[in-house]
């Protein structure tokens, strides 16, 4: 008997039944297809303006930082200023995302930039986020040809761009938007603050293996917040 048959057989013996009858399977499959939501904590159920404020508050609480920008065009100069302020090198790897490829990087002439995935020696990485989640100040960062995963992980400083209208109240809303966008991406990271460890004497230290700093740039205003279906 294969291991699969042995495991399923043991489970069914325990449940005192054979394979489920077709109608029960159909019921379970319709539950999965409908993927009903459970309790949504009240703190995530907010009007658009409240979402951005809560999102920023929780990013800060979890040792990240954030700033608001009027539009995408302001990104290069804002990053140059941020890096100078943090005493960081003026060089970065950025996601080959249409929003970034369309930017006029010459507005920040000192920045050395490279589009693509991150490599081990990159100090700063710029990622395009898919959604922000106010409930816990969490970013949703799916992988894709324009948003490589290594940008979330390898650099000492991770900068993520998100539009204010892409900030939702709770996780389920973000996943509904992701479902609308297509099949489940290979990798979907929910990121809440910079990397950390408390393994040494239960004392929190930032920058364990991933970024030591997480900076979120929030673009535009929330008035035109997109709606989750």
């Amino acid at each position: 008997m294969s291991d699969k048959a042995a495991i399923l057989g043991a489970i069914r013996r325990g449940l005192r039944r054979g394979p489920l009858p077709a109608d029960q399977m159909a019921m379970l499959d319709s539950r999965t297809a409908a993927h009903p939501r459970h309790i949504i904590p009240a703190r995530g159920q907010l009007p658009p303006a409240g979402r951005v404020a809560l999102f920023m508050k929780y990013i800060e609480r979890d040792y990240g930082s954030s700033a608001r920008l009027p539009d995408m065009a302001a990104i290069p100069a804002a990053i140059a200023a941020y890096l100078a302020g943090q005493n960081l090198p003026a060089a970065l790897a950025y996601a080959p995302h249409p929003d970034f490829l369309a930017l006029d990087w010459s507005t920040a002439p000192m920045l050395r930039i490279r589009a693509g995935e991150a490599i081990g020696s990159d100090m700063v990485a710029l990622q395009r986020g898919f959604a922000g989640i106010a409930e816990t100040g969490t970013l949703m960062l799916p992988s894709g040809s324009t948003t490589p995963t290594t940008l979330n992980l390898l650099a000492d400083t991770a900068i993520v761009v998100i539009q204010a209208r892409e900030i939702v109240g709770f996780y389920e809303e973000a996943f509904d938007l992701l479902r609308q966008a297509g099949p489940m991406p290979r990798n979907v990271m929910l990121v809440t603050g910079p990397s950390r460890s408390a393994d040494i004497e239960q004392t929190l230290e930032l920058g364990a293996h991933g970024p030591r700093q997480l900076h979120v740039l929030i673009i535009g205003d929330e008035e035109a917040t997109r709606q989750a279906a």
């Binding site: 042995a6 379970l28 499959d29 990397s195 991933g210």
Partner: protein
């Protein structure tokens, strides 16, 4: 890993006398409690979330066969591979074969208790594949050749001096006279050392906190980001997970995530919660080429339909051990098994047999704190009692202990009386034993004192000391 759960009593006595361990426990305990309490207080719906978490797990377990098959189909549809493994040996051999087929010399590993459960590292080493633990706590334990003492803070029993000493010994390419000014310097050294390993590994092995039937995804939850580097950089990602990790949908997973981090570390959300679905897609610039899931049973299917099915709801948050007075007094190693604390006392006899681990369900004061904090409401004390009854029925308990247990049970059911009686007994034993500092024989414990001396009580019961430590 070597199972010494038979020796719980001896291990516990050693732990109580271990100054370094007691220092670590004293540091950790108040933090464990305060952090969870804070996170729970900030979530008014927490009790409802617990009920819901329990209901989601119960629903899944009563249809586990169905959801496992749906999960497998979804993994295959996303281009991944599923390897069903009945036993630990099957899982070890499967993983080795994947490594060999890939010509792998080194594999990086994210934190996985199941990997400890099946003794994966020793096995790979024996077969010329070098495993490198990348979770900071697991990394130092690998350097020291020690087992974890906690399921999410594996090295919490170590103090800073231990870290410095181990790093000096292991990283001999660095200047011997370097100074670790702060904990941060230790962290930075580990980060640099492990970065090399991440970039060089051929295979990355992670555990999984959840497997999602709807999408065929495995989900890992970490704070360091090591699990993500492990599953992103090497050419092959292997997720090692046991069958009860299945949940039907993303929404089910999200509801469990809402109670997981709050119960575990007191965070609202861990730093990285990552859903992996298959291997690299066309156009992807990074990520593994191959994605494998090793789906392990190792005794769990036998728990389905028994009184121990409730234990399969466990999401390995560690709240039960963090709040357990016995764990708080002796730490994790005393249990002598991979899974310590209340959840381990229930799970270990199932995995290694009640003959081996029969003493563990006795390592409890039955205070009920564990189940009052368990996010999926597992009746831990009731399950420990089940084991004790089974052990008793099988007459595995030495005769003297059975008599003693009857006596103990009489007092234990009458807590006030129990405290008075033990205090009196302790005081008496303290008087008699004080001269030598130990007893060579004790009433009701002849089998135990035959080979060893019991240290004389220092005049205070556990409860008294516990109460005092709670006040201070």
């Amino acid at each position: 890993m070597l199972d010494t759960s038979q020796s719980f009593k001896e291990n516990a006595a050693g732990a109580m006398a271990n100054a370094g361990l007691q220092k670590a426990l004293a540091r950790a305990k108040p933090q464990f409690h305060a952090k969870r309490a804070y996170a729970v207080a900030a979530m008014p719906e927490f009790e409802q979330l617990r009920d819901e978490a329990k209901a989601i797990k119960d629903h899944t377990l009563s249809h586990l066969d169905h959801y496992l098959e749906r999960y497998e189909a979804a993994v295959l549809a996303s281009g991944g591979h599923v390897h069903w493994c009945k036993t630990a040996e099957d899982a070890r051999a499967t993983i080795l074969k994947i490594c060999r087929d890939a010509g792998a010399q080194t594999v990086t590993k994210g934190k996985s208790m199941v990997s400890e459960e099946i003794g994966l590292n020793e096995y790979l080493e024996r077969h010329q594949v070098t495993p490198v633990e990348t979770d900071l706590g697991e990394y130092i334990l690998q350097l020291r050749n020690e087992p974890p003492s906690h399921i999410i803070g594996p090295a919490f029993h170590l103090n800073r001096e231990d870290w410095e000493e181990s790093f000096r010994k292991a990283h001999t390419d660095l200047p011997a006279d370097r100074v670790f000014h702060e904990r941060r310097d230790i962290l930075t050294e580990a980060r640099i050392k492990l970065r090399e390993k991440f970039l060089a590994a051929d295979v990355g092995i992670t555990g999984a906190n959840f497997l999602i039937a709807e999408t065929g995804s495995s989900v890992i939850v970490t704070n360091e980001g090591n699990g993500d580097l492990t599953q992103t950089l090497p050419r092959i990602h292997i997720a090692l997970a046991t069958i009860e990790k299945i949940v039907p949908t993303i929404e089910d997973c999200l509801s469990l995530l809402r109670v997981l981090a709050r119960s575990a570390t007191g965070q609202d959300m861990s730093v990285y919660t990552t859903f992996s679905t298959g291997g690299r897609r066309p156009g992807d610039l990074d990520g593994p080429q191959e994605y494998h899931v090793v789906l392990l049973d190792n005794g769990r299917s036998n728990m389905v339909g028994t009184e121990f099915q409730d234990m399969l709801r466990c999401i390995k948050c560690s709240a039960c051990m963090n709040h357990c007075p016995v764990y708080g007094a002796v730490g994790g190693h005393a249990y002598g098994s991979v899974y310590p604390g209340p959840m381990g006392s229930v799970l270990t006899p199932m995995l290694v047999g009640v003959e081996q681990a029969g003493l563990l369900p006795n390592a409890s004061t039955f205070c009920g704190k564990c189940e009052s904090v368990c996010p999926v409401k597992i009746p831990l004390t009731g399950l420990m009692r089940h084991w004790r009854e089974r052990e008793f029925e099988r007459h595995l308990t030495p005769q003297t202990m059975r008599t003693g247990l009857g006596l103990w049970a009489f007092f234990a059911k009458r807590p006030a009386l129990y405290r008075v009686a033990t205090r009196l007994a302790m005081a008496a034993m303290g008087l008699i034993g004080r001269k030598r500092g130990s007893f060579s024989s004790l009433p009701l414990a002849g089998g135990w004192t035959k080979g060893r001396d019991m240290p004389a009580p220092e005049g205070e019961t556990f409860f008294a000391r516990y109460a005092r430590s709670q006040r201070s």
